[in-house]
Each structure stands twice: as C-alpha cells, then as structure tokens.
C-alpha cells in the first residue's frame, strides 16, 4: 500500500461497493434536501443525484460501465417496484374502478398528444428523420421506448436519453402547471404525470399524494401499451 498511495483508490474505484455507496449517499442527501424544501419541484432528488454523480464520475475518470457494476443493484429494483405498484392499486381499487371512463378517454387523448406533438415539433424544428423517430416514444419507460426505436431503425440510446429528460422535465413541471391551470383533482394530476413522464413522473406523484401515485402508475402502464401501437402508425402518417 505504502508504495503506491493510489492503489487503494484503484482497488475501490473498480469495486461495486464504492459506486453503490456513492449512489445511496448522494440520493440520501438530495432526498433530504427535497424533503427540507417540502418537495419543491426544482429540488427533484433524481435530477440532482444524476448530475452530482455524473460530475463525480467525470472528475475521477470513471467509466459508466464501472459505475453501473455497483449501481445495477439499485437499477434492478425498478422491475420489482413496478410489480409492487399492484398494492396501492389494489388498496384504492374502488376509486380506480369508478374513474375508468375518464381514465380511458384521457389515456387516448394524452397518448396521441405525446406522440404526435413530439413527432410534429421535431419535424418542424428540422431535425433529421432518425432523431424524429427516436423522440416519438419519449413518454414511455426507457425499456419500451428503446424497443420501439429499435423496431423503427432509429437510435435506441438517443430514445433512452429522450425518455429520461422527458421524465425529469415532466416531474419538475407537473405541479406548477397543474396549480396554474387549476386542476385540483389528484386523480387527473397523477394520471397526467404518469402518462407524460412515466416512472419518474410516478415517483413524483407518490411524493405529492397517494391517489396521484396510484393513477400515475396506471397511466404509465397503459401508455406503454398504447404507445407501442401508436408510434409506428404516427410515423407512417406524419413523418416524411
């Protein structure tokens, strides 16, 4: 050890333990700040953990592959957490069943708006065709969006980036936007958050209100399904 003061760092920086610890510590801090600001939209814990860890990796010259070896244990829990959404859904099933009609109509309106607005705005901005196709599925979870992008011969990595950016922006903007437009119904607010901003929107919704979280989870699941059918259709109709 004494011969090379860096050998400890070299050892630790290659081990999953360090990066898992960093992920948890940074998130614990950003989450504490978020709580201290009473869940202010701009204090979004994912956003701040993301750039702080990103800057740390850059500063230490650590590759994402090395980081992910540790962070994968957290990432893995996304699947089980999605399954776990069944429980709040089950506990609030009466509210959900009684809202089935507004949910389905809002699902179609929202899903079409998400795909069509992304495709048209991207075309209007003069973006190249493969970028337009990669942005179109941006409101669904990363896995589904990447699958859609791949099937259209677009860029799956760009699709994943668009998904995360959309999620963060949606989670930040949803509360002030709904307050300004006077939508006070937490079913509608949550449903919109999950539809537009998938899991990151759902995480935000659960921070604000349980009912919002439940409806957000439903919107996220249903939108994944509808968007898979919608994107290829919209692309054929609207994209040159």
């Amino acid at each position: 050890m004494k011969d090379n003061p860096f050998s400890l760092w070299v050892y630790l920086s290659q081990s999953p333990l360090l990066w898992l610890t960093v992920t948890l510590l940074v998130y614990a801090t950003t989450d504490a700040v978020s709580l201290a600001t009473r869940r202010h939209p701009l204090a979004n814990p994912v956003l701040h953990a993301m750039w702080i860890i990103g800057a740390f990796l850059l500063a230490t010259g650590t590759s994402y592959t090395t980081y992910f070896a540790g962070a994968q244990f957290v990432h893995f829990l996304l699947g089980p957490a999605t399954v776990a959404l069944a429980v709040p859904l089950y506990e609030n099933r009466r509210r959900v069943v009684s809202s089935i009609v507004p949910m389905l109509v809002a699902l179609v309106a929202g899903s079409v708006t998400a795909v069509v607005s992304a495709a048209l705005l991207a075309e209007f901005a003069g973006l190249p065709r493969d970028v337009v196709l990669s942005l179109a599925p941006k409101s669904v979870t990363a896995g589904v969006a990447m699958g859609i992008a791949e099937s259209l011969h677009a860029d799956p990595s760009l699709a994943a980036v668009a998904v995360i950016l959309t999620g963060i922006m949606g989670a930040i903007i949803v509360t002030p936007l709904m307050n300004r437009t006077g939508v006070t119904d937490f079913r509608a607010r949550g449903f919109a958050a999950g539809l537009a901003a998938h899991g990151i929107g759902t995480a935000r919704a659960f921070q604000v209100d349980e009912i919002a979280g439940v409806f957000s989870g439903i919107a996220m699941s249903l939108n994944a399904l509808l968007t898979s059918f919608l994107v290829p259709l919209v692309v054929t109709l609207l994209v040159r």
């Binding site: 992920t23 948890l24 998130y27 989450d31 814990p45 994912v46 953990a49 994402y64 980081y67 957290v74 829990l77 996304l78 699947g79 089980p80 957490a81 999605t82 399954v83 959404l85 069944a86 429980v87 709040p88 089950y90 809202s99 507004p102 109509v105 809002a106 929202g110 708006t113 992304a118 991207a122 901005a125 003069g126 973006l127 970028v131 409101s139 979870t141 699958g147 860029d155 760009l158 994943a160 980036v161 668009a162 950016l165 963060i168 922006m169 949606g170 903007i173 936007l177 437009t181 939508v183 509608a188 449903f191 919109a192 958050a193 537009a196 990151i200 659960f206 921070q207 994944a224 399904l225």
Partner: protein, 127 residues
C-alpha cells in the same frame, strides 16, 4: 418478508417470460403487476389463497417498502444520460425544446381531458 419479496420476483419472472414468449409490446413487470393484482383480488374471494405472503399484509408491507424510494431507482439510468449527453451535441437545444414543449402539451391534454370527462359524467349522474 423473504416470501413476500419472492412472490414479487415470481410475478415479474412470469411476466417477463410471457412477454418474451408471446412477443407482447409491453414491459414484463407491467404484466407482473397485473398478476399480483389478480392474486390480491383472488385472495379476498378464496380464503384458500390467504396464506404465506398473502396473509397479514405480508406482500403489502414489502411492496410499500420498495415504493418508498421509487425515485432512487431512476438514478443509475439518469447518470447514464449524463454520460451520453454528447448524443445531444449536434441538435441539443432543439431536442430539449421539443421534449419540453411536448411534455407540457401532454400533461395539459391528459389532465384537462380527465377533468372534462369526469365532470360530464357527474352532471349526467346528477340528472
């Protein structure tokens, strides 16, 4: 706790297997969600099922534990985006503007449609 976590993983596993097997266009965990929901509903109907993790709020407690820090689970993927920001190099500002505008439109369209339809239904009920 262990049995509850196993049940959640089992639901996801079956979900993934069915989605892959049939080539369904939805994430495996979403099918797993549906499966767990059906199990919970079936338990209320058939006392036979109310055992192990489906008893005494077992799977309920484990699920709430998982969901308590849902935001945390997006951090590793989010860090990946920071690493791939060079993908945005050539059209960065245009892409961010498109996404921001589209997410606002989507939020508005969804929430306002939801509110409109639920108000219309309420009026109909009142009549």
């Amino acid at each position: 706790m262990l049995a509850s976590l196993s049940l959640i993983l089992l639901c996801q596993l079956i979900g993934e297997a069915v989605v892959r097997g049939l080539g369904l266009p939805l994430p495996g965990p979403v099918l797993g969600l549906l499966l767990l929901l059906i199990l919970l509903l079936a338990r209320d109907r058939f006392a036979l099922l109310a055992r192990g993790p489906l008893r005494n709020d077992g799977v309920e407690t484990a699920s709430k534990g998982l969901l308590a820090h849902l935001s945390l689970l997006f951090v590793p993927a989010g860090v990946g985006v920071v690493q791939e920001l060079d993908l945005l190099a050539s059209h960065g500002i245009a892409i961010i503007l498109v996404l921001a505008l589209s997410v606002v439109l989507t939020l508005l369209a969804t929430a306002l449609t939801f509110r409109l339809v639920s108000r219309l239904l309420k009026q109909q009920d009142a009549r």
